[in-house]
Structures are given as C-alpha cells and as structure tokens.
Subunit: 379 residues, 2 copies
C-alpha cells in the first residue's frame, strides 16, 4: 500500500466532512478525538482517543502519519514545533497557525503587510478602552480576547468604559477594534499547497445572526467583479505571505463606503465554505486534503449559478431525523449534512445546501429546510 | 439520538461508497465485513468482522440495526428469512433478492411478466445444449451457472457441444441463452422505496471489455427518447413486480433490430451507476440509503450534459497514488474514486468520473486517467 496516512487532530464536524471527502482518494485517515463519540469519531475507522494538549499523546498519534492537519486551531504551537522536530509534516505549520490562534499577532502581521483591517490596538484595562475609543470615532468599541474565541464567544461590543470590564477577567490579552460600519460580511476562501499552487473560491456573503454564521450565499450577490477579484487576491496574498498550507478562510467586512477589511482568519475548512460540497466542482474539504498532501488542487469553480448554505441550529425539538421526511419530500434537490451531534439549543448540528438558477428560490428552500429541521416552523 | 442504524453486509467498495454517502445523513452505519482490511472496513467506524454465511454471526450483527442491506447478493435466502422472523427489516428482502441470486428464477419470472429476454432454458448436459442450439439459431450459445457468477465469471460462450462440458463440472444448474446479436449494452438504474416511490436515472451505455465493465456513458449516446423511456419504464416495472427495495440495476442488450432485452439484474448499487456520484443531483448510493430507510428519494437528474465513468483496473504498476500527481494536474475537474484495494492485474481497484458538454472530450479525459492510473500509458 502506497497511500499516505493523513492524521487529523480534533473530532468535530470539519474532521467528519474531511474524512468523507478523503474516502474517494483512497488515502488512510486517522483521527485524534477527545472522546469516541465526537462527530467525526462516529464515522472514521481509525480513531485514537486522546487529549491533543498532551504532547506525548500527540507524538504517539503522529507516529506513522505522513502529514498532520487540524479540525481546529487549538493545538499549542510548541507541540507542533516538537512534531516538526520529530520529522512529521504539519500542515498548516505552527508559523502560519499562530496568526489564526492569536488575534493580536494576526492584526500586527496583517497591518505590517498593508492589509486593510479595522483600526485596532491591544488594550490593558477599561480606561485604556476609553482612550482607544477617544482616538477614533468613540464608542461602541469591539473587544476580543486574543485567544480562544469562536462563534461570537470571546467577543464583546461595549458602549462605555463601564461595560468594558468583562473581557479582562479571564487574564488573556485583550484587543480593541473599531466597530466597523459594514453593510455585510463576506468571506474569501482559498486553498494553498506546499509547492505554492493556490485556488480561490468565489467570494461569498456570510449572514451572521447573534455572532453565529446563519446563511452563506455563493457567490455574494451584486458584488462588483473588481471587488470580488480584489478580495480573492487579498486572500491569496495572505495565504502566501503567512505560509498557509491547506484551506484559508478570510472573513471580511464590506463597508458602506465600498472598502473590504479583514475581520478574522481561519486556517482549516470553514463554515463559509460548506456550500462547496454541493455547489463547487471540488469541495473545500477535498482541496484541503489535496493541499496538505501536496497534490495538485481541484477546480474551485461553482457548479450552479447560486448555492445557499444555511446552518441548522439546535432548537427545542430533539428529533431532527423525523423532519427529513417532510424536507426531502418537499425538495428532492435538498442536500442535508448532519454532524451526528445531540441537539442543544443554539448548537450547530448540521447544515443544508441548495443550488439553482433563481436566488430567491434557492434561498427560500435553504431557509425552509433549516427552520423546519430546527422545529421553528411546522409546515 | 434518534438516527437509525443501517447495517450493511459485505465490506467491498459498494459498502465503502454507501458509507461515504451516509455520512451527511447523520445516520449510523454498521458494517459486517469478512476481514478488518476490506475496502469498506478501512473507512467505517462501526465494523463487525465475521462471516455472513454463519446465521448466528448475521443475527448478532443485525441486532440493534434498524435495517439490513447489502454490498453483494450472496447472503442465503434462508438466513434473511430468519432475520425477518427476528423482526429485522431486510431491504431488499429475500423474496426480491432470489431473482438477483438465481438467474434461472430471474429468467422464469421475467418471462412470466412478459419482459423481453434472450431465448433461454435450463440445460442438463452438453447434448442438451446442442438441442437448445438446434431449437433456435444454432451455436454459439451462452451458458451460465444460475448462481455465483459476476464480472464474466460463471459465463461461457460455447461454439459446439464439445466446448459445453466446463459449465456442468461445478454441479450447479446451468442456463442456456441465445447469443444476442446486440449493438451495445445499456443499463437502466432505478431506486424504489418500501412505500412505493421510485426514481429512474438516465439510461446509460455500458461498454464491456472481456466481460468486465470498462466505461459507462451517461446518458447513452443517440438513444432514441422513446427507447430510453421504455427502458426506464421496464426497470421501474421490474422493481415493482419483484418488490425490490433500494437500487436496482437492469443490464440490457440493445439489439441490431432495435429491441431491448434484459441481460442481468443487480439489487444493490451497481458499477453502471457510479457516474451518479459526480454526474447526478443524488447519487445511487445516497438514494439506496434513502430507499432502505424509507425516506423520500432524491432527484436522479443529471448535473452535466455528459458524464463518463471509467473503471480503473489493476495493472503491472502497484503504486497508483504517484499517478495522482499527473492526473490531477492535467485535469482539475477529474474525480478519482479509489477503493483502498491492493493492485492485482485486472482487479477493479477504483474508477474515475468526468463531466462536461463535449462527449468526445469527456470520454477522452476519463480514458486517459484510467489508463494512466493503471500504468498502460505514461504521459
């Protein structure tokens, strides 16, 4: 057998869908999962249960893998450097991942590269937040812990100095950013190989609700072509400058005055790329694998005029499977992607993709299915 | 957790690809595999290693499954009846599967239904084969053991009585059939649910080389629309009359005089349906699962004007993975599906799918990739 072994750290839905995309490649997929019941651990054959924060566990897991990649960005950089010293290929590597792990380092590096970002600086305490506000347009100000945040966690919008105490309680460095007056959020997804090949997916619109991605529309409607190309070029440049290998999601603000600013980076398959499973020639998961294996990348072009992804959040009704009957009967083209997770209110437990020629229809079909699966509508 | 458990008997590539298609549905997939290294066993999380010919093993496996389905048609009917008596849903059931397991019963039943078949009858010995030949157009005559054949095994074309001895040596009943003067082979693939819903995929052309499927073209080029619809209706009717649940492949001969005759039946995902993974809105594997779970079926329509599937057979060169580099770089739209099998000369180890607007181009791309992976061409 000459097929390589890809080791993926983290048992979430991104690993689950990466395994799915790896089956046709004939590669071996090995998973390091916190528990045997995680989303990916349910469907992968070769699962090691262990804690990625423990270096010995990680080393033991990596032995026999041809390359290590990630479902999340939480593996300590020192651990990854130890793997590199062991001769293991780590993709993306620690020197790239630090910019996805630490928002302070990310801002500093992007600023140095001349990449347009929201006004920002580290802040020491609530009084310093007031000073930051005074340096610009005043309150509100966005505060972020530099590490550990996701899906709106670790992010606060504060309207006064007195509201600014919470973020400092965890003892993690805090970054202040201007509250950008954006018209919408975009995402530019690219994939880059060690040998420097890169592909860019169409720029998408990402609709957030309560800080959580709700809907993604591919391509972003009415985005001027030159702005779309500029966003793709920006993402490709960031991938190259930061030495990213694999999938890179660049979350963007489109401002009222027509600028595009970088909000966040993610160096792994990303929620804003889930539409590619059914809407692109090659999915983000397949291309992430091809990149970390240093294989030529697949065509990122869309297969339909419009694709809409809607996240399925947990609601009050625990039995989503029963809802398949109505959803599938109503829309034979609907693509359901569930993660094998127990339903908890607000938890992302799956997503749906719809494709077609008419955006309003494609969007309505995705919305209906996501709402029906959640249980917020009953017909 | 309310998601059902699907138990699949047999660890081959059909189970591997069915598992792949089941991951997005969030269902639980349990595999009964002869060994832990079979194609599907490499990628499935929940694997029971055991012999499906042993009723206790099968019963133990089925316990806790909501439905049992199959990678192959070799499970004895009596075992399946025992599972039904245990209260297990078996799909397709033994009363349908017998017509895929026994070519004699299949011919008898299709004949009774008035389905056009090659002239046929059971034969007792070589002299009886001569008599069968004399009843029609003479030699050559096709001889088939009624059980156990696949991919050209268990099938002989004999040109004289003296050539007709071999098929009788195994002690299995032998069926004689006229050697049909066909212009090409077609396949009509349909999927049927317990509640009677059914979908028909476009009729495809199946190009056989040495009795093994080599290439599938979807849809079959220049097939008159009324003949295509007639073939679909025929397959739908067979599925209903035989009570098939799940995927049914009806392999057909298109004769020089414009008739369509049934060659073989397969009651499981089938090589002639592999093109649906990349060329149809819903793959045969996803629809097989939806059928055995009695979920509404997915849209079977094509996603491209032409899709070509080419099987990758083992050649002299064992390392197919190295060949990915050239194939993927040459054709970023190429879809490779490998089965995790060791290369042996002539063994089906994978397939490729290509899609596009121009048939000659789509076909050439598939041919190139299959030949390059096999090692019969080097550029």
């Amino acid at each position: 057998m000459t097929y390589p072994v890809v080791g993926m750290v983290g048992g979430g839905q991104l690993a689950r869908m990466t395994h799915e995309a790896g089956i046709p490649l004939g590669i071996r997929f090995r998973l390091l999962s916190d528990t045997p019941v995680e989303s990916a651990a349910q469907v992968v054959g070769d699962v090691v249960v262990g804690d990625y924060r423990d270096l010995n566990t990680l080393r033991e897991f990596a032995r026999g893998c041809d390359v290590i990649t990630f479902d999340h960005e939480h593996v300590p950089g020192d651990h990854l450097r130890a793997l590199l010293e062991d001769g293991i290929a780590v993709r993306p590597g620690p020197d790239a991942l630090r910019f996805a792990q630490d928002k302070g380092e990310m801002r500093q590096r992007l600023h140095a590269l001349g990449v347009p970002c929201p006004r920002h600086r580290p802040v020491a305490d609530p009084a310093d937040v007031s000073a930051f506000a005074a340096e610009g347009e005043g309150f509100p100000v966005v505060l972020k812990t530099v590490r550990g945040g996701y899906d709106g966690k670790g992010v606060w919008v504060v309207r006064s100095e007195s509201e600014a105490a919470d973020p400092f309680r965890a003892g993690v460095p805090v970054l202040a950013e201007e509250k950008v007056d954006f018209v919408r959020e975009l995402a530019a997804n690219v994939v880059r190989s060690p040998h420097g090949q890169a592909v860019a997916y169409p720029v998408v619109e990402s609709v957030q609700v309560d800080g959580v991605c709700d809907t993604v529309i591919a391509p972003a409607p009415e985005l001027p072509a030159e702005r779309a190309v500029a966003a793709q070029e920006l993402a490709l440049r960031i991938a190259e400058e930061l030495g990213v290998v694999g999938h890179l999601a660049v979350e963007l603000f489109e401002t009222r005055d027509g600028r595009v600013l970088v909000n966040e980076l993610a160096m792994r398959p990303h929620n804003s790329g889930h539409w590619t499973q059914d809407g692109a020639v090659t999915s983000q998961f397949a291309n992430h694998l091809r990149a970390v294996l240093d294989l030529p990348l697949g065509d990122p072009r869309p297969r339909a005029r419009w694709t809409v992804m809607a996240n399925v959040l947990g609601g009050d009704y625990p039995d989503m499977y029963s809802a398949y009957l109505h959803c599938m009967a109503r829309d034979p083209q609907l693509k359901i992607h569930m993660y094998g997770k127990d339903v908890k209110p607000g938890r992302k437990v799956g997503h749906v993709n719809t494709c077609g020629e008419d955006l309003a229809d494609v969007r309505a079909r995705a919305r209906h299915a996501a709402d029906y699966l959640r249980g917020t509508i009953t017909e």
